[in-house]
Every structure is written in structure tokens, then in C-alpha cells.
Symmetry: C2
Subunit: 208 residues, 2 copies
């Protein structure tokens, strides 16, 4: 589970306080038992509230998932975008994006798992909105790789496929990351930034 | 969902026929709704059987998950081991292992998702057994990378971390693979073999 400090920071924009408590309770319940095995009663109970109090903030369980997915994807997009403009060269920008994206998936692995594995439970309309945000994340990473190829810094025969692989590598950190494990989010970020620079054929010991 | 032909091939060792039908029904139900939201009644129904008939073959829902996870991991280990001994050089063996492991996760993405995302629902004893098999898969890939480093063919500063990343990249194919998508399992396997050779610093256009 994400730490309490990480939870509060992550959901700071969800107001009022009761709505935020419900989101945090829902993430934990979905992560533990899966979306379909969780009832709104379970979520209200975890938040120390009545089912009736839950309905003031969220009309359905799907609305809670949509809120979680929306906030999660917006944070991930912001992080990748900010990192993508940090650094002078495409190699520095790519390394920065990978380090940040990895760190986010490690630190917020509980949220990330819910967001990634329960996409199929969103309504068609909500899914379309989230999918658009995912394409923006993909586009941000792809354009750094394209910049690197154009500058002659990277050698990438298949840019869309390599972009997909880079994002997949980062996202899967949420599956295996263990807060009690040997590696910190920062260490995994540094390792992965180096591996990704190798994937794009950036020369020499990481510009990172 | 995996195709019918893939299902039959994959579960060929599960006998008698009724036990195999139940495993196939359980994989589909777990993939669709999650382990905790699925009842043994749901599974029996999908297999066209009564709950009583299910209990002849499996005493609990967890036993079905354990059977699925056990077969899935054994197949994955066999595939990686066989591929790991195919090829003259470490680069050829690594490319072969990655191609096969990726193809397996793409073709059997439904089973692979259940196996990967529901590990936490196994009993402690069953989990310990599956974890040992996972360490064998990890060890197989790690020793190819070690061979490559020893032979001077690879340049890998962090062998355990790189092994973890290689396996993670292959496993995550199960999450995003879409049978209606643009890339076939073979194409993804070829792309990933090339990317992994770059990750280990194998020189030049893929020995693959």
C-alpha cells in the first residue's frame, strides 16, 4: 500500500475531505479484492462512513473508479511532461522522464495497479476520456525519442514500438515493486533510465 | 481471451476432460471479474456443470487458481529453458528466450494476467511453491546474461536488476497485448529481442 503521506499528497485535489477519504478507501479496497468484488458498502465502511454518506459524493462505484483513474492519469501525465522538458539534450530529457515515471509507479504502486488493471471496468465514455490521456503520455515520450533520432543522438528502427516498450517497462514497476524490497524507487529509476538510453542506442555511459 | 486452440494446447495435461473444462472456465471468469468476485458456482455454470460436479475435481476456488498458476508457470519455465539452450552464443540464447517468453505472454495473455495479478490470492504454501518456480525462470535468464558478461559479449553493470527488467518487459506484454492490435506476437518478440540485446550492450545489429 502507498504510505499515508503519499496518499494525502496524491489526492490533495479531491475535496471535500469526505470525498478524499472515500477515494483512499476505494483504492485500498479495489487493490485488495478487485473492483468487482468490492461494494460501495465496503468502501463506506473503510472510510468510517455510512453508504448514504457515500452517495452524497459518488453516485456509483464506477464513478469512484473514474475519479481515481482520472487523478492517477493526470498526475502521471504531469510528471512525464515536466520531466520531458527537464534537460538540454533528448538523452537527458528521456532519462528524466523515465526516472520520474518509474518513481511514480513505485511510490504509488497501489493506485497504479488499480488504475492499470481495472481499466476494463470503466464505462465506455469514461474509458474514452482516460484513453485520450494515455495517448498524451505516449505522445510525450514518443516525441522525445523522435527528437533524439532527428538530432542523430538515438538510433531507433521502430519508434512507436520502442515508445510502447519504454512505457510498459515503467508501468510494470507497479506490479512487482515491494516497499520492503532491496531497491528504492530512486535506484530503480536510475537503473531504468540507463537501460532505456541503451534501448534507444544513446551512446556511452548515460548522459543521465 | 486466448483462442480455443491455445486453450486446449495449454491445458492438455489437465485431466480428465471435466477438470480441464473447469480450469478453462475459471481462467475466463477470473480474467473477467477477478478472483474474489468469482464464485465456484459461476465457474461450474460456465463449464456447463453443477457446483457438486466441480467439487469432485477441486475442493476450493483457491485450488483451481493454484492449478492454473502451477500449469502456467511450468509452461513459462519450460519455454524459457528450452529457448535458453537454443543458439550458439549468449546473444542468440537471450534473443531466443525473449522471443519465446514474449510470444507466450501475448498468445496466452488471458491466462498470464490471471497468473500474474492474482498471486496474492494463493495460500501461503501454494505461493511458496510458485515463487520457487518464478526464481527458476529468473535464474535461467540471469545465467544467460552472466554467460554473456563472462564471454565479454555483454556489458551489464547490474545483472540482477537487468534480469528483473528483461522479465518485467516480457511479462507486461500480457497487460497491453490486443489480439486485434497491429502487432503479432512474433513481431513483438522480434522487436523485444532486439531491445533486450541493446539493454545488455550486445554489439551491433542484433545477433538474433
Amino acid at each position: 500500500m502507498d504510505t499515508e503521506a503519499q496518499q494525502s499528497e496524491q489526492w490533495a485535489d479531491v475535496t471535500p475531505d469526505a470525498a478524499r477519504r472515500l477515494v483512499i478507501a476505494a483504492v485500498d479496497a479495489f487493490a485488495e479484492r478487485g473492483y468487482h468484488a468490492t461494494t460501495t458498502r465496503d468502501i463506506a465502511g473503510r472510510a468510517g462512513m455510512s453508504p448514504a454518506a457515500l452517495y452524497i459524493h459518488y453516485k456509483t462505484k464506477e464513478e469512484l473508479l473514474y475519479r481515481i483513474s482520472g487523478v492517477g492519469h493526470r498526475l502521471a501525465l504531469d510528471i512525464v511532461r515536466r520531466a520531458a522538458s527537464t534537460g538540454a539534450t533528448p538523452a537527458e530529457r528521456l532519462a528524466s522522464a523515465v526516472r520520474s515515471f518509474v518513481r511514480w509507479h513505485a511510490e504509488h504502486h497501489t493506485t497504479a495497479r488499480v488504475v492499470q488493471y481495472e481499466l476494463g471496468a470503466l464505462s465506455a465514455e469514461h474509458y474514452a476520456e482516460i484513453a485520450a490521456r494515455r495517448r498524451e503520455i505516449d505522445g510525450t515520450v514518443r516525441s522525445i525519442i523522435e527528437d533524439g533520432v532527428r538530432a542523430g543522438d538515438f538510433a531507433v528502427p521502430d519508434v512507436p514500438g520502442t515508445t510502447l516498450a519504454v512505457l510498459s517497462l515503467c508501468i510494470d514497476v507497479a506490479r512487482w515493486f515491494n516497499a520492503e524490497g532491496r531497491r528504492t524507487p530512486e535506484e530503480i529509476g536510475a537503473l531504468y533510465a540507463d537501460l532505456v538510453l541503451r534501448m534507444v542506442g544513446a551512446p556511452g555511459p548515460a548522459a543521465a
